[in-house]
Amino acid sequence: MSNTPLTPDLELPDEHYLNATYGSGIRSWLLTTDHKRIALLYLASVTVFFFIGGVLATMIRIHLLTPGGALVTPETYNKLFTMHGVAMIFFFLIPSIPAVFGNFLIPLMIGAKDLAFPKINLLSWYIYLIGGGFVLYSFSTGGLDTGWTFYTPLSSVYSNSAVTPAVIGIFINGFSSILTGLNFIVTIHTMRAPGMTWFRLPLFAWAHYATSLVMILGTPVVAITLLLAGLERMFHLGFFNPALGGDPILFQHLFWFYSHPAVYIMILPAMGVVSEIIPTFARKPIFGYSFIAGSSIAIAVIGFLVWAHHMFVTGESTYAALTFSFLSYLVAIPSAVKVFNWTSTLYKGSISWDPPMVYALGFIGLFVIGGLTGLFLACLGLDIHIHDTYFVVAHFHYIMVGGAVMGYVGGLHFWWPKITGRLYPKSLSQFAAIILFVGFNLTFFPQFILGYLGMPRRYHTYPPEFQVLNVLSTAGASILALGYLLPMSYLIWSMRYGKVAGPNPWPATGLEWKTDSPPLTENFHVTPEVTWEPYDFQNRPDLGLAAGARPLAPAHGDD
């Protein structure tokens, strides 16, 4: 820990949200309205779904080792990738950062005692569980083989799998997203501490504000769309089935109207995490604060207007295709702005190599590849070749795993000392970050080439000329799996054996670091007042850095 200021031997605070006086039995967790405990409930439940999705992914990669398929029947393979997608997207990626870190951190970051509607917050977790229960029921009774996209009329008429409970589960789960988004927006509007102006908000809060807008405006559309598909399946009402007078293309428009913005639900919070980590470990204000904040909102708004770029080869009108291609290129610009500003923040910084920073820089590397390959797919002439091939699979995994999951794991490393009060082994976690980066690239980069060579996605068997690249990808996946199991192990280990972190181990400038680790149930001993600009290390003597020249103050000292 030579890069962080020397601190005396620290002890955990006597009282904090984990051992609070109202008890620590199972009841005190299941009935809690504390946003921090609810965040941990979400952490446990999204981890379960991540694990399910991960096991399914492992089976997919093993199956694809040989051209004929090494492991399972075609029916089972189709279920594997469908359930992998549904578990990962609806029950891990979408809730991951918002429901875990957003829940835990937004009140702390803005100096509030809790979210605006604590009971609704708990309700949203139960809704998530009920939705997840329906989906697990679908998985275990017949499985699901429609693809996570549920394209009609395959899903509504032809599939023999358990589609109905799955769409009901996703429909129900949508309300969890909507309520979480609502809670965040109201909280950020009404519960900021004195002095916490909009432009002093951490960029993490800005990113979650933008995400919440997408959650509230987009989720109802996908919920109703899947419900219509379910009604068509159950009662033969003709919405999408042409034999009943419906139109399957209508489903795609409605589905992508949400599901493209949903990508921003996954990536915007990760961008928020990275926007916190980079200035903290470069020890200087983030470059272009207002541009990064504004670009989050721009991505959320323009992100609603690009959905039909998933449909360039459905036969949609040429004019529609031109419009959606143009708008898709526009949405690339705010993402580029973020990357340029993060990179510029490093310039003349005082850069530490602490684990969260390694994860954040890994995020930038993978997100840049994911984002740039989006330019290939937005290109109309090129998309007629690479649409629905492994190129697309590689692209969205770079965004959703390379980007969102890397951000999530980076966030875990950054806020773990705040959440648990303890630190984890530094070298091991740096090593894990590198393993993750290398394993990820080896898994997914070959898939870009596979895609350009013409291997379509969702194939349980493939021509032999594609084998070498598939074997490379599977080899990468086994390294990647290690990259996830390592942090899972040492983070759990650290909960008991890790070194006590103290209130502000890095140190960082946000309000969440001005209280105990782990924080009190009420978050702060005294309502904090914000008198400094965001990410300002120069005028913060309380951080104990060179410019301030005062030893690190314990949180419930004089602040």
Binding site: P5, L6, P74, E75, N78, D145, G147, Y151, P153, V157, Y158, S159, A243, G246, D247, I249, A282, R283, K284, P285, V313, T314, G315, T318, S325, F326, A332, A336, V337, L346, Y347, K348, G349, S350, I351, S352, W353, L361, V368, I369, L372, L375, F376, A378, C379, L380, G381, L382, D383, I384, H385, D388, T389, I449, Y452, L453, P456, R458, Y459, G544
Partner: protein, 327 residues
């Protein structure tokens, strides 16, 4: 040129070099940006590595001009990608007029193709080199997608819709085609081979293996009588419905004053949903044939109506718009 590299599929159509050129352009721009960002990050990472534990970074102030530059430069490059991509796409979506038409039906999990002379193939498609080929795509069940990597083109095959795609094969050979829209259990087996032949070989192949196949126009004529279409659509224009002589490819005047070109999609819609577009001057009498015809029967009827293109249009009793009608 690139076809020798293992990362490129063969180039075997007019679109392949265009798509590959786009690929090279966009790859070039992206590699430049990715390299610039990576080099900058790695350089800063080592150059500004913290030496003293209490050190802080030097504040650098936001610069609107810099922000403007890195918004405008990528925007210009993005617009170049958009424009170039649009040119290729518009070419792909606007089929030339002199095409050789092949009907292709996708169903779980096989492809059926029908050559202009009625010859049917399963999971095979034979086409002559150098001709503009148009595939008219229909699905019997779910959405499929016809994808030929060596031609760099694909198009979804959507039930209830007619989609068309075109290409000009440039190199004789055998090339994989795939279904690239997930369509259920044996999606991955729903593929086959496109055989591109010299025109003389193609003609020989057509005539050599056409035994037993029925010309689709002949089959359509038979259906036209069987399904009693002929009762109302009387050729000389004296029936309760418009004569279909000469209608294929012409503009049809509709009851709401607009016009529509009588091509495959319109004919299909008029058979399945007769009330969707009513011809001016005619009552909506026709019953729907939704669910009563297979895709192949609709192809046959369309082929028959197409064969009436050269028949004389009667003096009255037709739906074709007068030449002064708006486009």
């Amino acid at each position: 040129m690139q076809s020798q590299l293992p990362i490129y599929p063969e180039q075997a159509s007019n679109f392949a070099p265009q798509v590959d050129a786009l690929m090279i352009f966009i790859t070039g721009v992206c590699v430049f940006f990715a390299a610039a960002i990576t080099i900058a990050i790695v350089f800063f990472f080592f150059k500004y590595h913290r030496k003293e534990s209490t050190a802080v970074g030097i504040v650098t102030h936001e610069d609107s001009r810099l922000e403007a530059v890195w918004m405008i430069v990528p925007l210009i490059l993005a617009m170049a990608m958009f424009g170039w991509g649009a040119v290729v796409y518009v070419d792909y979506r606007n089929t030339p007029h002199d095409t050789l038409d092949v009907y292709v039906v996708g169903k779980q999990w096989m492809w059926k193709a029908q050559q202009p002379n009625g010859l049917k193939e399963i999971n095979e498609l034979h086409v002559p080199v150098g001709r503009n080929i148009r595939l008219i795509l229909a699905s019997e069940d779910v959405i499929h997608d016809f994808f030929v990597p060596a031609f760099r083109v694909k198009m979804d095959v959507v039930p209830g819709h007619y989609n068309t795609m075109w290409f000009r094969p440039t190199k004789p050979g055998r090339y994989h085609f795939f279904c690239s829209q997930y369509c259920g259990t044996n999606h991955a087996l729903m593929g086959g081979w496109v055989t591109v032949m010299e025109p003389s070989d193609y003609s020989a192949w057509l005539s050599g293996s056409s035994g037993g196949s029925t010309n689709p126009a002949v089959a359509g004529e038979k259906l036209f009588a069987e399904k009693a279409c002929i009762t109302c659509h009387v050729a000389n224009g004296t029936g309760p419905s418009p004569s279909l002589n000469g209608v294929y490819g012409a503009q049809v005047l509709l009851a709401d004053g607009s016009t529509v070109t009588a091509e495959e999609a319109y004919i299909r819609e008029s058979i399945l949903q007769p009330n969707a577009k009513i011809v001016a001057g005619y009552p909506p009498l026709m019953p729907t044939f939704q669910g009563q015809l297979t895709e192949e029967q609709i192809f046959a009827l369309t082929a028959y109506i197409k064969s009436l293109q050269s028949q004389p249009v009667p003096a009255k009793g037709y739906g074709i718009a007068p030449p002064t009608g708006k486009k």
